[in-house]
Symmetry: none
Subunit: 209 residues, 4 copies
């Protein structure tokens, strides 16, 4: 019986080093963006955080923007499946909201774990205050989800665009605050946001007939 060989193991040393360097740059970028902010960051800051030489950066990315994009894509790629699961398992509006906020706040907390350990003064950029096309996609997915769910429970006539905006804005801003607190408490934030949003929606529903 032949052992299953993992892709990483199949790669030569060179390929593995390449992969590792790419990851090192991405990770360094994530840390530096969190520490001093995206705009203030320059490429030297990023490579200084690795043990690579300056020219090496350009073997992997053309610009700061491209690292950012990669980081954002990565975040979204990891977040989307969670959202998918939420969507499938939601029974009603309440369970959807709880699950969605929980997914978001938990993801955010995990995503920023390193930054938090390192005492990053700048709040997380990736995934929070950033509108990449991908992030917008996630927003739109949530909006679509909400529309479906709300339709199903007979609330389709409400202003879903504003409701989504309210929920997303709430999540973003609360996310920043959540990350400032110790201990970081995604559960509490979820409880708060879900309850708050649910009440808001119900109130709007009541006054709309």
């Amino acid at each position: 019986m032949t052992a299953t060989i993992e892709p990483e193991v199949r790669m030569g040393k060179r390929a593995r080093a390449k992969e590792a360097n790419r990851k090192a740059i991405l990770e360094a970028a994530r840390v530096v963006f969190a520490r001093i902010g995206y705009e203030a960051t320059n490429i030297r800051d990023i490579i200084r955080e690795t043990d690579l030489a300056s020219g090496t950066f350009y073997n992997y990315f053309k610009s700061k923007e491209e690292v950012f994009e990669a980081l954002a894509n990565d975040s979204v790629a990891r977040f989307r499946p969670l959202l998918q699961k939420v969507r499938e398992e939601a029974k009603d509006l309440e369970s959807y909201l709880y699950a969605a906020f929980s997914a978001y706040f938990t993801f955010l907390a995990e995503e920023n774990d390193d930054a938090i350990q390192g005492g990053a003064p700048h709040m997380s950029l990736i995934g929070v205050r950033v509108d990449t096309p991908e992030m917008q996609t996630v927003s739109e997915e949530i909006a679509a989800d909400l529309e479906i769910v709300m339709d199903k429970v007979g609330l389709g006539k409400l202003d879903i665009d504003y409701i989504t905006a309210a929920a997303i804005g709430m999540a973003r801003e609360m996310g920043d605050h959540m990350l400032q607190r110790r201990p970081v408490d995604p559960k509490g934030a979820t409880e708060f946001a879900a309850k708050f949003t649910l009440a808001g929606i119900e109130e709007l529903a009541k006054s709309s007939h």
Copy 2:
């Protein structure tokens, strides 16, 4: 009887020119910040927008940060009276929320009038969310107020930090959407946000004892 003398009249020619230059720089900075975002703006961009020489900038401000500060202070100076009135006239949480959201959305609509006309993207060049000095300051003012009001109406035991975060996040995100709609409708946004927030807070109050 001493005649009331307007500040401008009291000033000499020199002082008036000085004041005008200061204003020109501030206005230029406001325009450029709105156009390309605070971080992306450099001092040359600002003075290029005026008919002044680069050195002149330093007679008035030490840095981009200082202009930002001044612009923010200016916003506060213009916004504070409105907020003062809101605070004074608010009888309860409901009336405060309505008035505060109304002040915010109206301010936002007016503040972005030029930008909308000029087709300025206002924020999010590519990806990074930019807060103009105005918005940042206004948000902070409201946060402070909200805390006071909630305390006064006996809701001080709630998680006021999260509540203000929720309200501000909601306002910010909804603000973007409001500015996209035609006609721009601060009244509608106010109605929506106030009702939503009030219901949220009441729900939290209910479940907290």
Copy 3:
């Protein structure tokens, strides 16, 4: 009676300094191009030759190409009047050829005087081995001139394009060699080239009927 005031004198100190800096950069560029060749020259080499700072270069020129262009334009602008005079004063083919070669070799010697003093190992680029649009214009002027002159003396049926090419090629290549010799002797080169060319043309004329 008011003294005639020279433009230079009318300029303020600032304007004069500006003019001087521009000239300093051009002169430095000419020297460095001659010393190490156009392609090998970088902008730091040029400014190092002046007592200016690196950034100052960009107050005057956008690139190495632009300095080159300015230098070339300058050369042409100073050469064209000489050619004009040659054209007007030429009585026949012989006198035209002598005058034109003389103008060229003399101009070349003067142009490269500094470079020669400095022991420049690289032969002159400006005006010799370079085809700027302007240099081409000069070539075309010479070609047109030759055509007119040759027509006048009844040699219009010859291959004037090749004759011009031959004369210009000869001048270019001989120019390089002339600059290597000590003393630099434009008279000798002129004598040689004119005689040579004249004989060549006459031979062609003879065998063309």
Copy 4:
């Protein structure tokens, strides 16, 4: 009797691959030099034109200069027999000049055949005249030959340096023009140049005693 063994056949597989790589690099360099000029070419440009890796370049050449040299030597190797024949068969100055110019213009036309087909600009990208290794070497060979021949026919007292310069300059400049004409006509150019040069030299000889 030993069979004549071709070099290629004598080599092992390894050596043949080696030879092929060397040739690939040389050919790539020739193409790129012709396309963008020697100075503007960098090593990456050359290896990109092959299917070899960058490091491989250094197994064959130490620098761009060395490739140039090799290319030039190659040209010489191909051109020298022609020139050898010219030298041997020349009975007098006239026949030498005809044969030499013919060799040069023919070689030039053939050498530029690909470039003409491929629409390569060959030289003068913008402004700076570029000599391919081939041309430079050929010129030098002819110069050396001419000196010998002139000496042999008793014209050694003339200014041979200037004469060769004149002949070479003429050939170069006329070569450009020849390549522009259709059809490309080395014969015509040869006739013109030889006649012209011969007359020039004779005139100089006459006036030198």
